[in-house]
Subunit: 323 residues, 2 copies
């Protein structure tokens, strides 16, 4: 009798279900479109089908699968498995864990996707060996996960870790949340894009003009990497500020909660790791208190695209062990 | 046989030792000068004498006292009782707990003074009923204590809770730590004093000119309260900014760690409670994420001058129960 779990990474566009063995090896994957516009019930039923297909592809028996872990967007209740609010799915109070569990007939454990990413890095990636870890993922926004003494910290309302909305610049750029000066408004890919698009419109000379076909295409992380590689001055100027802001956010968190490891991940960091990591490190060293910073490691995420499925598999195993 | 503990509040100027019964009533107090210039050994020996005198004043027997709790400044190791570094005492690696324990012949538990204040408020004051609490104390600096699931959170290096050094204004006022834009550099009494002294020098018309005898006396919290009571415009303008900064710092902490209660204490809050609390509340409501803010209470500290001795007594009882 085998000992497998399913890790499910659920995003606004795609869902990936993977069979993971007890050594954290991925045996098979099945990717489907989320198609959230079909409604929550249809999407969940299709996730169940994807899980079954992944089991088939792995050539194992359904009864060898002990549990499903799933990382989902939005504030959710990890105890009840209810997704409280996920704007990009148009989900409100959807009992994801319960519905999927009934369909599959095995336990389903649900967790916020950023927490799942942090958990995966903590157990299998950049956070190994530490007990106090903060994960920060820089993409459209900036999400965060907190691990204290080896456990995910949710806070009493289950919404802890909103690192994107610590305020680092009173009166600074307007944030999607309505306030000004949030870390996310200054250092997310969205913030970087906005600043660069402004400069493109002003006619500043940059490789991005060509890469975006004169501003017609959206600036992607890969384009930023290309621009950095060619020493594009406009891009470098904007990224210098973004890394400064990110470093200041990391320093604030270190001063407040004194972690052992801060893991930086997400599309921006993945594409620009060599540029980002030494610069962020330098800013943090300047802004963190020496006694808080002593021994702290700032590292880039290691699991890449697999962070979601591996983290969800780790979640499933941990929650099984607790139950 | 009685059941008493000693709570010791150790500051740079004075030390207060108090006998506290099992109902958290203070039976007696003994206050001495710290006189740190005499050296750590002499000071600790005098603290032991003060404890003995407090026992005598309470008319109880030494063997009825089960333990001493002591709140001390500076980063320290609560497990070993060693004060690592306390600049205002000129202490470096002083084994406060061990030395005092040997002198008195009973267990001595040492904790950072801000953590002790937070613990006291958590068990006996403004934090009662909550399990996730942040204490922020606004005085010369801004110190913080964190309670998670009913326990003081120290972090792996024992220096968590440096709320004064979260950065809320990139490029803002210079802080004592050498950086710019720390909460402490913008919202501590020192920051308020500095701003008001600048305005006094510029000749701005304010009641403080009279209260400080033309800038000769230092601006104290009580003077600020008087100026506010008379509607002094210059003072109100400076305090409006300070409350905004403080509220933004509180909001960042709420967004990051999702506590149930934030307790504001210290000299500035005590003197200006009616002015501060509603204003800080309003700023926090604007800057905290609605889901993080939901149900969070922002309250003023209740224990006043007794926070140190009562918190230390609570510390002693909790550590006894654990040991």
């Amino acid at each position: 009798m085998g000992d497998y779990v399913v890790g499910v990474d659920m995003g606004g566009t795609n869902v990936v279900a993977a069979i993971v063995d007890s050594e954290n090896q991925v045996l098979s994957r099945k990717k489907i479109s989320t198609d959230a516009e079909d409604g929550a019930e249809v999407t969940i039923s299709r996730i169940a089908d994807a899980v079954r297909e992944a089991i088939g592809k792995a050539a194992i028996q359904p009864e060898e699968v002990r549990a499903v872990g799933i990382g989902a967007p939005g504030p959710l209740d990890p105890e009840t498995g209810v997704v409280i609010f996920a704007p990009n799915l148009k989900w409100n109070n959807v009992p994801l864990g319960g519905t999927l569990g009934q369909n599959l007939g095995i336990p389903v454990f649900v967790e916020n996707d950023v927490n799942v990413g942090t958990l995966g890095e903590y157990e299998l990636g950049a956070g190994r060996g530490a007990r106090y870890v903060v994960g920060m993922f820089v993409g459209t926004g900036i999400g965060g996960g907190i691990i204290l003494d080896g456990e995910l910290y949710h806070g009493p309302s289950k919404v802890a870790g909103e690192v994107g909305h610590i305020i680092i610049k009173v009166g600074g750029a307007r944030c999607g949340c309505g306030n000004r000066g949030c870390l996310e408004a200054l250092a997310s890919r969205t913030a970087i894009q906005r600043e660069l698009e402004k400069r493109l419109k002003r006619g500043e000379k940059t490789l991005l003009a060509e890469l975006t076909n004169g501003g017609k295409k959206r600036i992607k992380s890969g384009m930023l990497a290309k621009a950095v590689a060619t020493g594009d001055e406009v891009t470098l100027r904007v990224l210098k500020r973004a890394t400064k802001y990110l470093g200041i956010g990391v320093a604030s968190i270190i001063n407040f909660m004194n972690p052992e490891v801060v893991i930086l991940g997400g599309g921006v960091i993945e594409a620009l790791e060599d540029y980002y990591m030494p610069r962020v490190q330098k800013v943090v060293e300047k802004y963190a208190m020496p006694q808080s910073m002593s021994g702290v490691r700032i590292v880039s995420a290691q699991l890449g695209d697999d962070a979601g499925i591996l983290g969800a598999a780790v979640l499933a195993r941990r929650r099984l062990a607790e139950s």
